[in-house]
């Protein structure tokens, strides 16, 4: 049950998308999101969708994994769709009691749903194809200039790396503890809200204890390997921004600029 969470999951591979420099991917995703919000008409959405489909198919990650990640969003997507269908004024297509469906409403609903789905799929593509290590590495490099004004960029990136690293570990741990308590007759799935909240105590106490224990172990392990923060630290794998990365980034920038301009005009 808990194991179905795909947040921050990484699927190792060797596709073009996997090999793209993580900094480029991070910037691409950022621009992609902005462009997605600027897109407004059929043409601009079609361009964005084409990009997304191309990237997803190049990544060679099974479509099923994306669908699985989108499933928890189903409720929000449906709600957004319904709200837009019923609460937009315009040419009336059908009417029943207080409900009214307008052409504009339908179009708006389609647009909003597309936007949510494409937004989430795009960000999934980033985490599916980039290892947490690469991702935080890229973030640290991109935020590097902030070090000048004494922002502890390296430390923040390290914290993020550790947090991401421990998501699956803690999920697995929670699963194990839940089963152990179930074996002693704990019931996590029935009763009212208060009963359910109280039923979580036997799960949360051991989980916290183990998180602290792990944190301590990790701190000792880091210290015994002389970790002392970012100062003067070199890397085993230095990120290399190649010509191909630059070319892809440039192409995407140009297209996004186009989408932005066209979108603002209303295409």
């Amino acid at each position: 049950m808990l194991k179905d969470i795909t947040l921050g999951q990484y699927f190792p591979g060797n596709s073009v998308v996997h090999r793209l420099d993580p900094r480029a991917k991070l910037i691409l995703t950022f621009i992609y999101i902005i462009a997605l919000f600027l897109a407004s008409g059929f043409l601009t959405y079609a361009v964005m969708l084409a990009w997304l489909v191309l990237a997803v198919s190049l990544s060679r990650i099974p479509l099923r994994m994306f669908l699985k990640g989108l499933r928890p969003l189903l409720f929000i997507v449906i709600l957004t769709g319904l709200l837009n269908v019923f609460y937009t004024d315009g040419r009336v297509l059908a009417q029943w009691w207080i409900f009214r469906i307008t052409l504009e409403g339908l179009l708006m609903a389609v647009r909003m749903i597309m936007r949510i789905l494409m937004l989430v799929t795009g960000t999934f593509l980033l985490t599916y194809t980039t290892s947490p290590l690469q991702l935080t590495d890229a973030l640290e490099r991109l935020l590097g200039p902030l070090k000048r004004i004494r922002v502890p960029v390296h430390e923040l990136a390290m914290m993020m790396t550790i947090a991401l690293r421990f998501i699956p570990t803690l999920i697995e741990e929670a699963d194990k503890i839940m089963n152990a308590q179930r074996a002693r007759g704990a019931d996590f799935d029935s009763g009212n809200i208060i009963r359910r909240a109280r039923a979580l105590v036997p799960l949360l106490v051991p989980l916290f204890v183990s998180a602290f224990r792990r944190a301590e172990d990790l701190a000792v392990a880091m210290e015994s390997r002389c970790y002392h923060g970012g100062e003067g630290r070199t890397r085993m794998r230095v990120l290399a921004f190649r010509a191909a990365d630059a070319a892809i980034l440039a192409a995407f920038l140009a297209i996004s600029a186009g989408v932005g301009v066209l979108g603002v005009v209303g295409f």
Binding site: R64, K68, N179, A180, A186, V201, P202, V205, P206
Partner: protein
Amino acid sequence: MPILQAEHLSYTYGAGTPFERQALDDVSLSLEEGEFLGIIGHTGSGKSTLAQHLNGLLRPTAGRVLFRGRDIWANPRDARKIRFSVGLVFQYPEYQLFEETVARDIAFGPRNMGVPDAEIGERVAQSMALAGLSSDLADKSPFELSGGQRRRAAIAGVIAMAPDVLVLDEPTAGLDPQGRREILDHIRLYHETRGSAVVLVSHNMEDIARYASRIAVLKRARLWMEGAPRDIFSRAGELEEAGLSPPPVTRVMQALRDKGLPVDTSVYAIEPAAQEILRMRG
């Protein structure tokens, strides 16, 4: 009638994902009333998965688990009740302790079963004694105990439910030889006092050899061998093929035989081995 039976049990993890893996493949096994069964297998052979089927934590992909002849999944809503009849001690069970005192943690299971308060105190005291915890630890926080004590407290928490079958998944993992011996001796004590069936899951053949009266060997998700310890350990070569090392004593006997001494190689405990060697010397 066997108290617990697995019939053609199969289980697949993550069906339909790239991480799909078959953990059990057509395993049939039965446990008699009051028996001490050992299940051994290499890491990843499906031992833990099998253990979690025995008390209904996992639902078989195919096949059935019968408790006293009744399918435990016949009515999924009753599946929780089976957990009171078949107690399962997980790997590293000390990480499940959460209450303020040892006594209250041990009482967690019986409380969930609806055991009356008056009876709970007695159950806690009895299971602490069976698990080898001195009674002055009852009011301590579980987090003040030593690693071995904590593990015994967790085992006591399952024993306190007075299950008809006690399943222990690697109860000695990560303990030193002395701690291992203490835990297993108390499990045997429990087995003898209560007379309830015990299933000991382990990859350590020596532990299993010393305590179990019957052994099942799992290999790559399948039941590979089954029988009395003597019969199993006489097939030392095959066991080693499955990635399991026979008990040291058996290996010594094997080595002696290889050197030309006609000893009985199915011996797996120290005393009989000593007698066997003395017999050879005449």
